[in-house]
Amino acid sequence: MMQRLILPYLFLSLFLSACEEIVDFPDSGTERPEIVIEAVLTNQYENQTVRVSYSTAINDSTLSVPENNAMVRIISREGDTFSFPDGHEGIYQMLFKAEENETYRLEVTVNGTVYASEGRTIPINGIDSLYCRQMLNPENGDSAWYVYMDAGRSYPMDTRYYMLDMTKNEELITYGSEIWIFRDSYTDSINGIKLPIAFQKGDTVIIGLSSLSNSMFDYYFKLSYEVFTINLSNISYRCNLPMMFDPKAMGYFQVSCTDRKEIIIKQADQ
């Protein structure tokens, strides 16, 4: 009887509460498109990628407009210059390996304007080992596999800020809103870290551990704050992400030392 009385009231209350709906954007005027540069440079011999695009109006159905006529190059501290080939869909790629503890300058020339930013490949000790354990998945109560990572470090290393990337069965998981960054300023190791994704037997997992500069860590923190939190446009202090290019352009230039390891989930306590 009591349940009969309470349930309708509760459901009525809850259903009538906490709703969301799409709101039409008010007219915000016409703004000149801003240049956006996304660049990641690592010490792995692999395709280094720079993406150049333009911002679009808020009501525009396209997310961004690619810039295919940019001139992209990397210049080392000694003045060695490495030019990227022409881009496609705004993406410029070049097989290249950055040296450890080296400072690189990225220059992107668009319509005669050179947008530049610098970064250093901060050395990293890398991943010592990956292993997995079978545990209860708290989300659905089923059994799932979790990957753990040991990444010991020794002083004096000046790596303070890290980023993790994860590929599961050749699909990059840590993309879009998934930004895994952490700080390791004072400890000797980051052993026994459980990665927050559940796996099934047979999954192939590649973990990448990258060093970050302080400014890149700050950038990603603000980006994740922008993306993850319920960003109260009327309450949280809203402004653009930090500008890392001169002259000012949106985007970032991440220079990292990266270590990657692969694990295949096949048995307990590997």
């Binding site: 509760l10 009525l12 039409d24 996304e38 525009d60 209860l136 879009g176 700080r183 459980k194 402004c239």
Partner: protein
């Protein structure tokens, strides 16, 4: 005294060697003359002989007075006999206490007023008043919000104690009387002070049917909130960290349960709420904007009572009674929310997993009258919120307050206050044993104060004292193994500060129509640890002037300066309070505010209205914003690099209150502009703050249909919150990021907020000992969708989509509006056993 009757023009009286007592009896019984006298002041046994036939009454009275050696005066068809003793040129002191006639509780802020002298005063926090008046015979009125006014005639020839026991019909639903507020407004010298009509709180249509002091506070002029469901009050354009709550003089750091929907105090335990906006009395400090002084009830020292109620999500109970009748009493109040229990009972299939989500609070207070000059009060409180469902948060306050009143003389009232209060909150992410972290933040505050109020003959009142406040911010405690938290990095030091304040405030009568109040606080601010911070000495002047144009109309103006020695850091604005405070230090200066207020107060008594208008302007300096980053809880204070800023607030509050009759209510309107400037933000130009509600209007109306049935309604209107509308978007890591115009911060407003709440209250039970009532209400009756906030996001097929790998539809950059309540019915059942 006889019953009131018109005096005869002439009388016949033949008595020989009658005592004065017998003569008085003759006058009362034979001619029904209303005689007023003090037996102790008259020679009642003195022999008198009178021979009068149809002589004028005044002739007879003159002869009586001549033979007995005193005087008489006729006033309002009453004959007053009074002694000639006393110095006619010297003021005499009238003092005493004002109490509730049923509970014996002393009433705060009750007005004691002499209409003929246009003089008055109010009782202090302990129900005591003292006033010096010229010798004579006067009407004296004593009134208080919700109580019937008492009229007396006094003969002031020497100092005397006159106490008042005010009468209220404690339970029957009836139009709320607000007469007291008229006098309070006229007498109180400090502009910006508002006494909440607590009695109205019993009938207003409260959210979820839960009457609550903070929700009611939000309806007062000048008090705003950013939006529903958020912690904090924005009083006269200042931030929540600029408002302090004092519970029986002990500070409470977080006044909110359930993410801001409720206050931490059981409404049945509250005696009075006094909100000081902008200008703070000298004896109160520590905040730069406002202080809400909340006094808890002392408990009934005459009878045992059991009071309580059940609302939509909470139940509450209060027990009170005498320990020693007339001398000592206690009160204990407990409240707990039970949404979690309801769901547990009604939802065995775990359809809705609410985990352990509840709050509770417990108040206890005792008082003891040692003798006529000494009284002790001890209050304590503990309360907690738990949001714990495999990781969550919790926060809670505890406080203690001990006070000792001592009456040195009828002109000197002393009070020693010792308080301690603590606040803790934690935040954890608890998945399983291998992935766990917990952050715990604490604040401690200890206070000792001696306060003296002196009522000298010519000055109306002087208040002075010494206050020492010891504040501790212990280090953030961290446990766990999360990759994003690092316990070794945390600052392990406890930050301590000692704030010692010497204060004085004097109220002076400059002319018959003009009063002034001058005050000064001198603060020694000493940051004890870590060192290397020089001790500061800061003066805080206070001045206010009042000009009485008539008994019904007065104008006031004032200026004050306030300091606040800590800055608040707030990370999560929504749902969970998660705040940290940082003392002034190397990179942070104390916050400073200068307030200028003016006001017009019009109270036409016979029309039962009270109108006030208070324009104000505040300049807040050192409004440094501590930037949020992932290390904020572990960073040493000296490493914090704030963004310096300042804030200007200009506004005007209007208040109109209908005080008696079948229809009662109030209209509160605030017109306000808040502009902030921060270094390097918005091209160093002023921008409106996110909480700038330009117009804020509350219309409350209560209609009493019968003794048992009453209707109540609120209509609330606020300008929409400013927000920053992006001018474009760009793509990063495969998702859309809003692009803002860097020199156009908060450039748009959300749609205006408005809603209508209605309620009906039905009373049952005729008389003691058991009475009860049922309140039915509807919140947001016309189902207005008031957006609480906007969120920019990519959506696919109408759903938020942060996965750039998703190819199942067109991704669109969109603005999502969120709102909490559409239409919400609720109920509340209240009961009371006892008187």
């Amino acid at each position: 005294m006889g019953q009131e009757q018109k005096l005869p023009d002439s009388i016949s009286l033949r008595v020989h060697d009658f005592t004065l007592r017998q003569v008085i009896q003759e006058l009362e019984t034979r001619y029904h003359i209303n005689l007023y006298y003090s037996p102790s002041k008259l020679p009642l046994d003195r022999k008198i002989t009178l021979v009068f036939d149809e002589a004028p009454l005044t002739t007879v009275l003159s002869e009586v007075c001549r033979q007995a050696g005193f005087e008489y005066r006729i006033k309002d068809d009453q004959v007053i006999f009074y002694s000639r003793n006393g110095d006619a040129d010297k003021n005499v002191t009238t003092s005493g206490f004002v109490i509730d006639s049923i509970t014996g509780e002393r009433l705060i802020g009750a007005a004691v007023y002499f209409p003929e002298l246009s003089m008055g005063t109010t009782t202090n926090e302990y129900g005591y008043y003292s006033i010096s008046i010229p010798p004579g015979i006067y009407d004296i009125n004593c009134s208080y919000i919700g109580y019937s006014t008492i009229h007396k005639i006094i003969v002031a020839t020497s100092k005397q104690q006159i106490s008042f026991a005010l009468i209220t019909e404690a339970y029957e639903i009836k139009p709320v009387l607000l007469e007291g507020s008229i006098l309070n407004r006229a007498i109180n010298l400090t502009p910006g002070t508002d006494v909440l009509p607590i009695k109205l709180m019993e009938s207003y249509p409260a959210l979820l049917g839960e009457k609550d002091v903070v929700q009611f506070l939000k309806m007062m002029p000048g008090v705003q909130t950013t939006t529903e469901g958020l912690n904090g009050l924005y009083v006269r354009g200042c931030l929540p960290q600029h408002t302090s709550f004092l519970i029986d003089d002990a500070p409470m750091f977080n006044m909110f349960h359930f993410s801001g929907w409720f206050s931490t105090l059981n409404p049945d335990a509250i005696k009075e709420v006094r909100l000081h906006k902008s200008m703070l009395p000298a004896k109160i400090g520590g905040s730069i904007a406002s202080v809400a002084e909340i006094s808890l009830r002392d408990g009934n020292n005459q009878h045992f009572n059991l009071t309580g109620g059940a609302g939509t999500i909470t139940s509450r109970i209060t027990v009170e009674g005498p320990i020693i009748r007339d001398r000592s009493s206690f009160i204990i109040s407990f409240r707990r929310s039970y949404l979690d229990q309801l769901i547990r009972v009604s939802n065995p299939q775990k359809l809705i997993d609410m985990g352990k989500i509840y709050f509770y609070d417990l108040n206890a207070k005792i008082n003891f009258t040692v003798n006529a000059r000494n009284r002790l009060y001890i209050s304590s409180y503990t309360g907690r919120d738990i949001f714990d469902d495999q990781g969550g948060a919790g926060w809670g306050n505890s406080l203690f307050s001990g006070r000792w009143n001592h009456l040195f003389s009828d002109k000197v009232f002393g009070n020693l206050t010792i308080t301690g209060s603590g606040y803790d909150h934690y935040f954890d992410g608890q998945g399983d044993d291998d992935d766990y972290y917990k952050i715990n933040i604490a604040i401690r505050n200890y206070n000792i104060k001696y306060d003296l109020t002196v009522y000298p003959a010519h000055n109306r009142k002087m208040n002075m004292g010494l206050n020492s406040r010891y504040i501790l911010f212990p280090p953030v405690e961290f446990t766990g193994n999360s990759i994003t938290m690092n316990p070794e990095a945390a600052d392990r030091r406890t930050y301590k500060a000692l704030l010692t304040t010497l204060y004085y405030q004097g109220d002076f009568k400059l002319t018959s129509d003009m009063n002034a109040s001058l005050g000064m606080r001198l603060i020694w601010a000493d940051k004890i640890y870590p060192d290397n911070v020089k001790t500061r000495i800061d003066p805080e002047p206070l001045i206010s002037l009042e000009y009485t144009i008539s008994d019904e109309l007065s104008v006031k103006t004032g200026y004050s300066r306030n300091h606040q020695y800590y800055h608040g850091v707030s990370v999560f604005d929504l749902i969970i309070p998660f705040d940290k405070y940082v003392f002034w230090g190397n990179n942070l200066k104390p916050q400073v505010a200068d307030h200028i207020i003016a006001g017009i107060y019009y109270s036409p008594v016979h029309r039962n209205l009270e109108f006030s208008m208070e324009p104000y302007f505040s300049m807040l300096k050192n409004q440094d914003r501590i930037q949020i980053n992932e290390e904020i809880y572990f960073t040493r204070d000296k490493n914090i690099n704030p963004v310096s800023g300042c804030l200007n607030v200009a506004g005007v509050d209007f208040s109109l209150r209908k005080t008696t009759g079948r229809i009662t209510g109030f209209i509160s309107y605030t017109l306000m502009k808040t502009h902030k400037k921060e270094e390097g933000v918005n091209h160093n130009a002023y921008f409106q703050t996110y909480y700038d509600r330009r117009h804020d209007l509350v219309v409350n109306m209560n209609y009493q249909l019968s003794r048992r049935i009453g209707f109540s309604s609120n209509w609330v209107y606020m300008s929409g919150n400013p927000y920053s509308l992006p001018v474009g978007k760009y793509e990063l890591r495969g998702r859309s990021i809003p692009l803002y115009n860097s020199n156009s911060l908060y450039n748009r407003r959300m749609p205006d907020y408005h809603r209508l709440d209605v309620s009906v209250k039905i009373g049952f039970g005729k008389q003691n000992p058991c009475r009860h009532s049922l309140t039915l209400m509807v919140y947001n009756a016309y189902a207005r969708k008031n957006a609480v906030f906007y969120h920019y996001s990519d959506i696919t097929n109408g759903n938020i989509d942060n996965n750039p790998n998703n190819k199942n539809g067109d991704r669109l950059f969109s603005m999502m509006g969120y709102y909490f309540f559409n239409v919400f019915p609720a109920f509340s059942y209240d009961f009371k056993f006892g008187k």
